[in-house]
Amino acid sequence: MITLTPKRTFTVPIQAACINVDVFTGKTLQEIKNLSITEGKETITLNDAFDITEDKTIETPNITLTGDFSKVKRIGQGMKTGEIVINGDAGMHTGEKLSGGKIVVNGNSGGWTGSEMKKGLIEIHGNSGDYTASPYRGTSTGMRGGLIIVDGDVGTDVGCYMQGGLIKINGSAGRYLGFHMLDGTIYVGKDCSIRAGACMTGGKIIINGAVELLMPTFTIDSVKPKVKIDATQIAQGPFYVFLGDIAEHGTGKIFALKATNPTLSNYEKYL
């Protein structure tokens, strides 16, 4: 296990895609220390910014980051195997394009966490920022697979253009949850802000709390007693099931818990 601890408080952002199990594997401690990162415009070594120690007795997690990493971007970008644990906040683009392995954040995580993720697991025990699991600007292929678990709340535009996998949010979700979603599942434990599922054409969003306002472009389908989250978990209802987004001729589904959404009862007349 390699442990990194910041030497000082960072003001300008650090880009460190090299904090990645695939990169560290097979390198000596000295080689790891000499990996180059950028702090603002300046190129420095990993050792300039972090105290780095190695504990050969522990196998997993492969990398532990302790301290405030909220200014450190692109941790574990494109990682294929291994495990990173961050004991503190993580910066933007953490676990971007993850295609395997596991990242655990014992704190909050920045924007674009798990962006364009393909496989693997990201666990965030705090809140996660805007655009979690959403693709880069102008790209219309989002998260393809894997699992993201957020214990706290998430920001806006989470799970845009999602094509597969599961995002499990135990807190509440911001605007545009599952925007333009094609497939996959998003589960929200608490409330959900406006415009959930806007432009979605497939997949499902399960909301276990209050829906602030449902898009008018959704039409009620049925009331269901329960719904499957994944192979092992089932959410207990009853749920209103809405189909949409009909403006996109979509067949995505929003499951909104009946008990917490009395405002949606006026849709019952169409059943």
Partner: protein, 513 residues
Amino acid sequence: MTKVFNSVVCTICGCLCDDLEVTVENNEIVKMKNGCAVCEAKMVHGYKSEERILKPHVRKDGKLVPVTMDEAIHKAAQILTDAKYPLLFGWTSSASETQHVGVELAEELGSALDNCCSVCHGPSVMATQEIGIPTATLGQIRHRADLIVYWACNPWSSHPRHVERYTAFTDGRFEKSEFKDYVQKLKAKSGQKKVAAAIRRTRVRYQPPPRPQTALVEAPPQTLAKDGRRMVVFDVMKTMTAEVADYFVQVEPNRDYEIFGALRCLVNDQELDVDTVGGVPVDYLKEIADVMVNAEFGAIFFGLGLTQSVGRFRNVELAIALTRDLNRKTKFVVSPMRGHFNVTGANTVFAWQTGYPFALDFSQGYPQYNPGEFTAIDLLRRGDNDATLVISADPGAHFPKGAMQNMVKHPLITINPDWNAISRLGDVVFPTQWCGIEQGGTAYRMDSVAITLKKVVEAPKGVPSDEEIVKRILEEVKVIKANKAEKEDTGKQVLQETAAPKKRGSKTLKKEL
């Protein structure tokens, strides 16, 4: 000596009206024809401001003192090269020639680079990146459009000549001006006695009884069925533009997105499960959808009401999606109402040099783009940068408090013609010429047509153009960097010469530096 300049370009808004006639006496603009009130306020009066900066200033012991240009340039370049991550912000009231040098400076510095579009129509650009945009130059709309939709904007006040030059009140090849109709309407409104008769004659909307609180919309007026150009306004309040329009739809604040969604369904002949959307009854929206589908050529203009309210670029995205859907039935175009006269130019110039329109970062040696990550306000609020250069913009008056607090923690360089809020906060303050009045150049209209700005008066003595200032800073930055590299080289040599006792070597190095 009196001199008259024709076809002068106005440097206020994105309309870039280029038909001004400016009279200059003794190097002062004394009269202007054709311009709107806003234009006159700047080009006849505003530019002569008593608050004009005439000399470069540098902050010494907390006070701004006048210095020579050389000293200010050196100081600015030194600040920018010493910083780990500077931010260069502004650019939209400069000519594209200046913006052009700006990109090179940012690249040389490895800094962040952003323009004011991140606080106005940046979301429009982002929406375009998600979904594209069916648009047209303004003349196309003038010649052909029989339906004009102003959504969340108030051109009557913000772009005063937009309606007159490009849309409802202008004569095109295939569509005629509705100005006469409007004058009749006005007369009808002012002539108290003949109100009723005049209304009948001109088929102007009658004054409706006070609206009930639940429905925010009036009954559709008969004018919607008239021939010729029609104008529809969607807004959260009844603006001046709405007064002129044939139909006004009052939208609940922050509910534009829902209305776009509903309109899209209605245009595609789908039924909705709800009765009202965003405070507007669905039946009214159905009528609007019919009007849109039956237009020969429709144009939607949208403003900051979409881009800066809840939803931001997603609002615009749906406006574009609606336009796209309408193109399957008829011809429709959509266009943002760009604000600053050359904000489109900043997007254009940045894009051709780097591929990206704003929110740029050069810290990796190549351009990176990500609004939210590299946009000025986000960057400042997180406190990511450690020096700022502001050019032809006044974030001091417009940025949120948190962003400004972080900005002034670090050195600040400003390039502006007059003492505005940001200049007063600067550590290095440059004077500069008024672009389009004292200096020529190129600007891009809101539909990205490039127009040449004209110089009509001489700038005060010793006040350079912003292009020259940025160029000189760039040169100085290169010199400082070269000197630094040379020093490091000699440092290394010293290190090599004294290679044996390594520690002493590094000490020498430190001394050298």
